[in-house]
C-alpha cells in the first residue's frame, strides 16, 4: 500500500520537530518535507506533491490561508489540514473558504490530530475539529 506523504508547514521549529516525531510513529505515513513559511510551502507542494499538508495559519511572508489558496489553484488534489492556535469560528470559516479540509487546534493535537489525518487519508467527508469538549463538526 502506498505511503501517505505529508508536508509540514509551520514557522516554529519546535512544533515541526514535534509533528515530525509524532507522524513518524504512524505506520504508512511519511513526512516528505517541511516549510517554515507560506511561499516555501507552496513551492514544496508543487515540487514533491504530498497527499496531505499540515498548515499553520500565522507564518512569516505569507499566511497559511494565502498559501492554501495558492495550493488549491495549482494542486487541488492536496488535502490541507489547518493546525493552529486560533480557536475562532471566523478563522475556521476562512479555512473552509480557501479550500482546507480540516481544522485542528494545536492545544488539542493529542486528541484530534491523528484522527483528523486518518479521516483525510480515507477521503472522508471533510471534518473540522474543535476543542476536545465539543463534537467534531461535519461540514
Amino acid at each position: 500500500m502506498k505511503n501517505l506523504r505529508i508536508l509540514i508547514a509551520d514557522d516554529h521549529e519546535v512544533v515541526r520537530r514535534g509533528l515530525h516525531a509524532l507522524l513518524g510513529t504512524q505506520a504508512g505515513w511519511e513526512v516528505v518535507g517541511e516549510a517554515a513559511n507560506g511561499p516555501d510551502a507552496v513551492k514544496l507542494v508543487n515540487q514533491i506533491k504530498p497527499d496531505v499538508v499540515i498548515m499553520d495559519i500565522t507564518m512569516p511572508v505569507m499566511s497559511g490561508f494565502d498559501a492554501t489558496r495558492l495550493i488549491m489553484e495549482t494542486a487541488p488534489q492536496t488535502k490541507i489540514l489547518i493546525f493552529t492556535m486560533h480557536d475562532s469560528e471566523q478563522m475556521m470559516q476562512t479555512a473552509l473558504e480557501v479550500g482546507a479540509r480540516g481544522y485542528v487546534l494545536k492545544s488539542n493535537a493529542g486528541s484530534d490530530l491523528i484522527a483528523a489525518i486518518r479521516a483525510l487519508a480515507k477521503d472522508e467527508t471533510p471534518l473540522i475539529f474543535r476543542t476536545a469538549k465539543r463534537t467534531p463538526k461535519i461540514v
Binding site: H12, V14, V15, G18, L19, A21, Q90, K106, I114
Partner: protein, 81 residues
C-alpha cells in the same frame, strides 16, 4: 495631568497585548510541541509499567489543560479581532 490616565490605559493595553502575544506565540507553540512529543511517548507506552503509563497519561492531560488555559488567558487579555 489629564493625559496621564490615558497614557496609563494605553500602556496597560500594550502590556496586555504583549503578554497575550507571548502566550500565543511562544508558550502556546512550546506547549503544542510538548504535547506532540508526549504523544510519541504514549505510542510506546506498552513498554512501561502500569504506574508509569498512568503517570504519562496524567502528564498529557495536564499539558493539554495548561495549553488550553494559556490560550484562554491570551484570548481574555487580547481577544482576536
Amino acid at each position: 495631568m489629564r493625559a496621564l490616565p490615558a497614557q496609563l490605559v494605553q500602556s496597560q493595553e500594550e502590556e496586555r497585548r504583549r503578554i497575550a502575544r507571548d502566550l500565543h506565540g511562544s508558550t502556546g507553540q512550546t506547549m503544542a510541541a510538548l504535547i506532540l512529543n508526549l504523544n510519541v511517548l504514549e505510542g510506546n507506552a506498552s513498554r512501561l509499567g502500569e504506574q508509569c503509563r498512568a503517570a504519562l497519561s496524567d502528564i498529557i492531560n495536564l499539558a493539554s489543560e495548561v495549553s488550553e488555559e494559556s490560550r484562554n488567558i491570551s484570548c481574555v487579555l487580547h481577544p482576536p479581532a
